[in-house]
């Protein structure tokens, strides 16, 4: 049974269509794997009954010959997605008890295609964090360890539960969301593949909002082909999201030829950071060589405003968050604080939000409030938006020079131990140093596992593509994946 949960989406799809396996069998294998993986704390709401019903329906569809690629594939869904009738808390106490009456567009598209929901996945509260330590459910744990050292490591964040679940073979794929690196950083920490598509590719409707101009959903999978298949099912225009792009969705899997001859790959010099570990430096050089050997032309490029991406992000994201999170007022959904005799509506707001939001969320809401407040709006918020224009312009200029994709490290380190950086918000923010530029510029970015560090922990490389060119980006990632040949799996200890 356990082998079934280890299948990739493409393998399972082919086996389902060939009648070699049923969705019911795949689903049971995953449910069993989840049952035995409580120590990872990846799944935080379990939906075995929904999963079994969906699997049964999927098997009937496959039998009838009506089977889209994702039909019968068991998935985990990040807790940020609203799922009808199933708790959707964004890992926050302020949404405890909230069960949406509606389905997010992305999860709805997956289920319409026949995918099976195993349950909801752990994450940082409101997707604010890089280590899954701000979750109201407690830490998700990385299935990877440093050799025989049993120190618990972070699966990254905010999509930490998704990364942990996919890496540990608890599901065949998972949804993630990425505002500053929340798909790519955990994917890199867990040795899996994660893509954030171009802003506007996936509808944001029904996904709990963090920073609306940066948030995008994407798949987290065991390889690049699976990412192409699952992304296909998640994309598409949605009239309910005014920023959703009304563009045709190409066949991403068909783009995977592995041929990158004649492609030009840029290596941005500003991503060589002070104090970057040698292993990351070496991995990056390896990636460069792999793509060169595959026939791509490698060019050194400059993205001069890179240094200002993180500070700009830490103005824009909290500003948007403070506005988005204003809706949690203890009136319409979720939790309301117990009030004292004589408390009025202001006390209700203040107590509810103090009790319901964790420390990092409170911090970001207040920073956002500050940078938007009278007297500081121009100095902080408008200046950050201008810097964002410059960051995007950097990318436009290199693409205009003929660059097809940009190769960078995915993260400045491998997975670190839990508890290390939680005390220092700014140090934690540095995790997103290579990924955050991509959100600010609205570009597609993918993390691919490409090697291991001296402890055997996975390391990822990031490729950044031209807007709307996810197919081409996935193909370059596919070539890199084939050259890197990363097949290591975490040893089972849980």
């Amino acid at each position: 049974m356990a082998e079934l949960a280890q299948m990739k989406i493409a393998e399972a799809r082919d086996a389902l269509r060939a009648g070699e396996v049923t969705s019911a069998e795949l689903t049971e294998a995953c449910l069993q794997a989840i049952e035995g993986a409580g120590a990872l704390n990846a799944f935080v709401h379990h939906t075995p009954e929904i999963a079994r019903d969906q699997a049964k329906a999927a098997d009937a569809r496959i039998k009838a010959g009506d089977a889209p690629a994702m039909c019968g594939i068991p998935l985990g869904i990040k807790d940020l997605f609203c799922t009808r009738g199933v708790p959707s808390q964004a890992a926050s106490n302020i949404l405890s008890g909230f069960t949406p009456e509606y389905e997010s567009t992305v999860s709805g598209q997956l289920f319409d295609a026949g995918a099976v929901m195993l349950g909801k996945l752990n994450m940082d509260e409101f997707a604010m964090g890089s280590s899954n330590e701000t979750s109201c459910y407690g830490n998700a744990i990385n299935p990877w360890r440093r050799g025989n050292d049993d120190t618990a490591l972070t699966p990254g964040g905010s999509s930490g539960g998704s990364a942990s679940a996919v890496a540990a073979d608890l599901c065949l794929g998972a949804t993630g969301t990425d505002t500053g690196g929340s798909i790519r950083q955990p994917a890199a920490f867990a040795g899996i593949t994660g893509i954030k598509p171009t802003y506007g590719r996936c509808s944001r409707w029904g996904i709990v909002a963090f920073a609306s101009s940066l948030d995008q959903a994407g798949p987290m999978t065991k390889d690049v082909r699976d990412a192409a298949i699952m992304l296909q099912a998640m994309c598409g225009h949605d009239p309910r999201d005014s920023t959703s792009a009304d563009l045709a969705v190409p066949d991403f899997e068909a783009a995977l030829t592995g041929d990158v001859r004649g492609k030009t790959i840029g290596i941005p010099r500003e991503y060589r950071m002070e104090g970057m570990p040698d292993e990351i430096e070496a991995l990056w050089a390896d990636g460069r060589r792999m793509l060169e050997d595959a026939g791509a032309k490698i060019v050194d490029i400059s993205l001069p405003h890179t240094k200002y991406a993180l500070p700009a992000y830490y103005v824009i994201a909290p500003a948007e968050a403070s506005s988005n999170l204003a809706r949690y007022d203890g009136v319409r959904y979720g939790r309301r604080a117990t009030l004292a005799q004589g408390d009025g509506i202001t006390e209700m707001y203040e107590k509810t939000r103090a009790e319901g939001f964790g420390a990092e969320v409170q911090r970001r809401v207040m920073v956002g409030t500050y940078v938007l407040s009278a007297g500081f709006y121009d100095a902080y918020y408008n200046r950050a938006r201008k810097v964002r224009t410059l960051i995007k312009r950097d990318f436009e200029e290199v693409f205009a020079q003929g660059i097809d994709a940009i190769l960078t490290p995915a993260t400045p380190s491998s997975a670190f131990e839990l508890g290390r950086t939680v005390e220092d918000p700014v140090e934690m923010y540095l995790n997103d140093v290579f990924t955050v530029t991509v959100n600010l510029a609205g570009l597609p970015g993918i993390a691919v596992p490409a090697g291991t560090d001296k402890h055997g922990l996975p390391l990822g490389l990031q490729l950044i593509g031209r807007p709307w060119e996810e197919g081409d980006l996935l193909n370059t990632a596919y070539a890199l994946e084939q050259a890197a040949g990363f097949v290591a799996k975490p040893g089972k200890w849980w």
Binding site: R332, I345, E347, F357, R363, R383, R385, K386
Partner: protein, 95 residues
């Protein structure tokens, strides 16, 4: 840039988050660290640069101004901490 406890208290008030007085110094320190990090933006020459409004150049779609939904009162109220007689209930607002 250093944030004092009075500013921290004012921001907490604006954000409608209750912060106890004894937690204000630590909060002010956190703000100072984060704002210190953000200060770097002051180095960038942003003369004649437009602030970004939309990351992808797109025109917002228009739709006809018609009713597309409705009669969902029970569903709208189903997650409310306190709903009575078809309304959201809150503490008394007007004396």
């Amino acid at each position: 840039m250093s944030i004092d406890t009075a500013t921290a208290a004012r921001v907490a008030k604006l954000a409608r988050i209750k912060v106890e007085d004894d937690a204000l110094p630590a909060l002010a320190q956190d703000f100072s660290a984060i704002l210190g990090f953000i200060e770097q933006l002051g180095e960038v020459d942003v003369e004649d640069v437009e602030p970004m409004v939309s990351v992808t150049p797109m025109r917002l779609k228009r739709r006809s101004d018609g009713v597309t939904d409705g009669d969902q009162q029970a569903k709208v109220l189903s997650n409310a901490p306190d709903a009575r007689e078809g309304f959201f209930a809150v503490p008394k607002v007007v004396e």
